[in-house]
Assembly symmetry: C2
Homo-oligomer: 435 residues x 2
């Protein structure tokens, strides 16, 4: 066979073992149920697309974060780095087949060539949900509510939402005459939590005049109350513009709708990305703020600008599954570990293979997950297997039990035996257990 | 914004619209439930791996079917083209963390640069399940039973399994002294159903002597009964070897276990791939044989040979989701279409937004999926939206209803109105409906 190959994965690309994968699937199922309860519908898009479609015409210098290649047909292709750009392309391509507003969820893997670090991978699963085709305030509220209900479904109600509005930021930049440096300012301010105020100031000084830096630093300051922060924004913008009014209304409505949650107006939240134009938000767990934002997003006034002239406004959010799993694990809220089947049928007689298969079949038809030990091996080996895999009950049936249609069950947790004289009683017993 | 970009996807890479994605998810859920009921556990592996890991040392001339690239770290990487090779790598890497036999399922996308044609895509979803670490006959039976129960869960019981055994084929080639042409013969024979007997003969003549071609053609002939085919194999192998005995036993046990299914011993089934060493099988729908095999697989005596010296035998199957969806659609067995929420709350008063949000919240807490129309638009527009999206009930509540805590519901299918004087009665009504 030649030399052996090391069974390694690429840096930042992970295998998921059964225990974790069971948890991930349980979490995704909950997020999906919540999304569906709000009327979101699922879509899927390809993992790989034309680079032009994902990166824009020309593409400029390729972002190092993008896995970009040439395929055998000499096509310039890339792996998707988020689910928003593919969704924009999807909406432009299928607009005539869809109704508006369109509420979609999309849970899928994305790829970024970032330096891997704790909790950051090059391949990771995102859960996105967006409402497009509406610029209504109700949609803003609904997205934030969907986020809160998702976390509540995991047992987390102590949330802190940091909310801001990109329209206010733009109006402020305009007023100060520094709009042309807007993108650079946004990206710098976005790093505040990571690099601190001093470093932000230093970076801003490279971009704009010193007096403007002071203004920006004042703008992104969070006051002691939302009302005080609002007042500061009004002062800096010179008026209570429509964006300030909308943000104020949103926060008031959210506080009424979800009094258990802490809504904080934080003007330093900008979400770096160019396309946001309305509210932007990040979500922190009050019991675990250090893990960072577990869900974020915002409103954009035109999702599909790259592909079509007809504007399509919307609002959306994204949950990173890996960080969420890490958070739930830390808070001891991970869905209970599963192990496959709860019942194992021990294999103690080579002549009874058909009988075991039939018995397993009957149990499965009654909704009981079960498996047969694969071969007639020593009992201690079978017990050891059941313990490792985590079976709850072992069915121990030999020729005598088969002949008399009786069943002996061992409760592997309590180390108790139970006997049954017919299949129905056995099934009833299992139905009464927490399997 | 510059020139618009055409929102196209790569050839063979598809968008999945909500109706299809709902169906796909419902199907995957059923397959998952069946797999879990047999004690299979889920894993996941990366979409992209070192080419060496997926293709073997050196890799030779790259298979055109593989999407192979160089990443920015100058690593030679490929997208996975099946789930078996990554599973082998996974088992070699995690052997010490896992128990044996290990039963895993893995539902994920794979990528092949094949010429796209009807029902064949370059990106497609496979559902694999394998039992590794056991060479027992029981595992062979269990894999085939899992397949049958999956199809039964979709309402398909009229199946035809074509079964053969690679060990018998190898013994025959050995006896005839043509084992060194084995791989070429296998691949040619594998095409029988596609290209016909004459073409197979022609291709075989390029590989081996004319008298050997006749022997091979005799070998792959399916007789009128399984017993007659067995006898033919015994004659051609010169003895009833262990493989023939095992295949005979398997078919007898399967017939006892699942009398509703047609098990046909067909020695022309070889499953092209090198690694199979035991039984191999394909699955056809008796009501739709033309769609081809909907599930196939086989037994291998060493999954992990590329990566470790310790042999790991196993048996597994793979369902291609796209073909399965196409089959279920054709047979009118696709899971009922869903549409997101069943209940829509019409938006008829700008002052009632908070009330609508609260009401929706209460309904969701009672397990009723519902959404609010995004804005206070004309009634006919709201009705049109509900009809397009497929809502079943519309809740029409204005200021009067809010004040009196009463509710008016329109059944959009039956075009009937219902009135309720409190929230509990409304919820009870919805619970009584088939939502």
């Amino acid at each position: 066979m030649g030399q052996l190959i090391e069974p390694r994965t690429l840096k930042g690309f992970l295998d998921i073992l059964p225990k974790q994968e069971f948890a991930r699937r349980a979490i995704l199922k909950k997020v999906e149920e919540v999304c569906q309860s709000f009327g979101f519908v699922p879509i899927d898009t390809p993992v790989m697309e034309y680079s032009e479609v994902l990166l824009g015409k020309g593409g400029g210098e390729t972002d190092k974060q993008v896995f970009r290649f040439e395929d055998h047909g000499n096509r310039d292709v890339s792996l998707r780095f988020d689910l928003t750009v593919p969704f924009a392309r999807f909406m432009a391509a299928h607009r005539s087949e869809l109704y508006l507003p369109f509420k979609r969820y999309h849970f899928a893997k994305v790829f970024r060539g970032e330096k891997p670090q704790k909790g950051r991978y090059r391949e990771f699963m995102q859960c996105d949900f967006d409402i497009v085709g509406s610029d209504s305030l109700l949609s803003d509220l609904e997205i934030l509510q969907t986020m809160a209900v998702c976390f509540s479904s995991f047992g987390i109600d102590k949330l802190r939402f940091l909310i801001s509005h990109r329209g206010i930021f733009s109006a402020f930049l305009e007023k100060e005459g520094i709009a042309e440096s807007g993108v650079a300012i946004l990206r710098t301010v976005d790093k505040l939590a990571k690099i601190g105020a001093d470093k932000v100031k230093e970076l801003l000084n490279e971009e704009i005049a010193a007096d403007k830096v002071e203004k920006v630093l004042s703008f992104i300051t969070k006051e002691d109350s939302n009302d005080a922060t609002i007042q500061n924004l009004i002062d800096l913008c010179g008026e209570k513009n429509e964006h300030i009014l909308r943000l104020e209304t949103i926060i008031k409505e959210l506080e009424k709708l979800m009094p258990q949650i802490d809504f904080v107006l934080d003007p330093s939240i900008t979400r770096g990305l160019d396309y946001y134009t309305g509210i932007v938000y990040e979500t922190y767990l009050q019991d675990l703020p250090s893990i960072g934002s577990v869900c974020s997003g915002g409103r954009y006034d035109n999702l599909t600008a790259l592909y079509t002239k007809e504007p399509l406004p919307g609002v959306g959010s994204s949950i990173g599954l890996d960080r969420l799993v890490a958070a739930l694990e830390e808070l001891d809220l991970l869905p209970a570990a599963q192990n496959g089947a709860s019942v194992i049928i021990f294999n103690i007689d080579d002549n009874l293979q058909s009988y075991y298969l039939d018995l397993a079949n009957s149990l499965r038809k009654a909704g009981i997950q079960c498996e047969i030990f694969h071969a007639n091996k020593k009992m201690n080996q079978q017990f050891k297997f059941a313990e490792t895999k985590g079976h709850t009950f072992a069915l121990i049936c030999g020729e005598e039990e088969q002949k008399s249609a009786s069943y002996t069950v061992k409760d592997l947790r309590k180390r108790e035996n139970h006997s049954f004289t017919d299949l129905d009683s056995l099934i009833q017993f299992f139905h009464g257990q927490d399997l």
